[in-house]
Amino acid sequence: MLYAILCYHDETFTGSWSKEHDDAVMEKLTVVQDKLTRQGRLGPVARLLPTTAATTLRKEGDPPLVIDGPFAETKEQLLGFYVIEAKGLDDALEVARDLGRANPGGSYEIRPVGLFRPGSIAT
């Protein structure tokens, strides 16, 4: 079963990290990701740019409305996501806990994936 792990945190807080701290966190996360890669369980991983770079398209109207930033003013923002293969929720939670130990603070939303297309972007 595929799960998405959606990473939420206060971006003002993570934005206050020093470059050294940020690098250290990324390094620890890479260790967890490498383990998953070896097991053939790691799908796409994305770290998103700050919400100030985001645009929202509200589709109710015609034409749709374009708004700057995410619409809701919430304390935590979606900062990135992973797609992983897990046997079930317990297994997915285990992966999320591993990631969480590498990068404490904020929250992960563990969400089963309904449709998955790996896409064709070459990086």
Partner: protein
């Protein structure tokens, strides 16, 4: 993260909002700062024991406000004067957590905090120093180091700035739309000044001053988060990111400035460029152009060019023409001349800048650009005279070295260009 690192990041990110709220309560910068300081001390003591609060900013505001009120009461017993008039709305101490969630309130709190630092009576250097002390929370020692002055001198500069702000009176009424946009423009200009303090560093001062660029980016990000739909703030943020992205390529081993054409573009920070490009893209959709957006668009054309030869100079020339209309200045025209020389050749560029001589005659870079154009036209003697004038006018040894490097390069190029003709 260790407790201390966590607390440090939490206090840094909470500071502008917490201090901004305390300034609104106490209507006095020193009182607000003292209250915030006390709240931080309390946080350092209790957070490691009791665990971090759910909302550190709200906690700091609440504790800061209570300690501030206690202090004022204590003082009122020692002195005969009741200082109650300096404390606003003391009766709704319970409602502040709910109040903090009011978005417009905290937007104006933070904007006010930034705005008091850029009072028009304050010279630019004092504005910057005050903002770094008050909003960013840098220590006087850190700021002094960045400005290459003694701690005592910086302390004095900040004290003077604070006195001027107190005398001028902090604007506490909630601003109207026009006032808000005026404040926004003043704050944006101040953030750009901070950035340039760091960006203009060279030689031995780079390590001390370059962090000012990151601090300016942090402040711009704070401002943009509050005013997400302001195209000029997007433009400012984009401009800072696109310029900062070149940091690793801008200096040689001795701290000398490497010209854009000579930079190793593989050293440019791709993530900063991606964010800068995304922001200018977003900003232009608003069709409300302004100087920061135009400058960011110019920076974006440089950032998007894989090599100097790929640069779209014609478009850069057009953007500079737009900038000349928005912000008429001989320095902008001088910058445009560089683009013109690439598109139409050195003579057209020279024709463009010759009329600026009266106004820019004392500016070293004018003679530098003029010398370069004369050199390209094969007027070597005049070029050398212009370069010598540039060196004589340079304000710092770094600027002089910069011009000298420019000359060396042009000499090499003109020999190269001249070579086929002589054989």
């Amino acid at each position: 993260m260790t407790d201390i690192a966590w607390i440090d990041a939490a206090l840094t990110s909470a500071r502008p909002q917490a201090l901004g709220a305390l300034l609104r309560y106490f209507r006095d910068l020193d009182t607000a700062e003292e209250a915030y300081q006390n709240a931080c001390l309390r946080a350092l003591k209790t957070w490691p024991q009791n665990g971090p609060p759910r909302d550190p900013t709200a906690w700091l505001i609440l504790v800061g406000r209570n300690t501030g009120i206690d202090d004022a009461r204590r003082r009122s017993k020692q002195q005969a004067l009741p200082p109650d008039e300096v404390i606003s709305d003391t009766d709704d101490a319970e409602s502040e957590l709910a109040e903090r969630l009011d978005g417009s309130h905290y937007r104006d709190d933070i904007l006010r905090l930034l705005f008091v630092c850029c009072h028009p009576d304050l010279p630019a250097t004092q504005q910057i120093a005050l903002a770094l002390r008050i909003v960013s929370g840098l220590t006087v020692k850190q700021i002094a180091r960045a400005f290459l002055v003694s701690e005592a001198a910086m302390e004095q500069r900040i004290t003077r700035a604070k006195a001027a702000v107190a005398k001028a009176g902090v604007p506490f009424e909630t601003p109207g739309a026009v006032e808000r946009s005026e404040r926004l423009a003043a704050v944006a200009a101040m953030i750009y000044l901070i950035f340039n303090e760091g960006y203009s560093a060279s030689g031995e001062s780079i390590a001390q001053r370059a962090p000012l660029c990151d601090e300016a980016i942090r402040l711009a990000r704070l401002l943009l988060r509050l005013f997400q739909s302001e195209p000029e703030i997007m433009g400012l943020m984009s401009l800072l990111l696109l310029q900062r992205a070149r940091a690793a390529a801008r200096y040689d081993a001795d701290g000398g400035i490497v010209l854009l054409d000579d930079q190793d573009r593989s050293l440019w920070n791709r993530e900063m460029i991606a964010e800068g490009m995304a922001l200018i893209d977003k900003a232009m959709r608003h069709r409300r152009s302004g100087p920061y957006q135009v400058q960011a668009a110019i920076a974006a054309l440089h950032a998007g060019a894989l090599s100097p030869a790929d640069t779209d100079w014609a478009q850069i020339d057009l953007l500079y023409q737009t900038l000349e209309k928005q912000q008429p200045s001989p320095v902008v025209t001088l910058n445009r001349a560089v683009a013109v020389s690439k598109v139409q050749g050195p003579q057209a560029a020279l024709d463009l800048i010759e009329p600026l001589a009266a106004r820019l005659g004392g500016y070293f870079n004018f003679h530098g650009v003029r010398g370069a154009l004369l050199m390209q036209l094969g007027r070597g003697d005049e070029a050398r005279a212009a370069f010598n004038q540039a060196i004589a006018l340079a304000n710092t040894t770094a600027e002089a070295a910069h011009i000298r490097m420019h000359i060396d390069r042009l000499m090499a190029e003109s020999t190269k260009a001249a070579a086929p003709a002589t054989t």
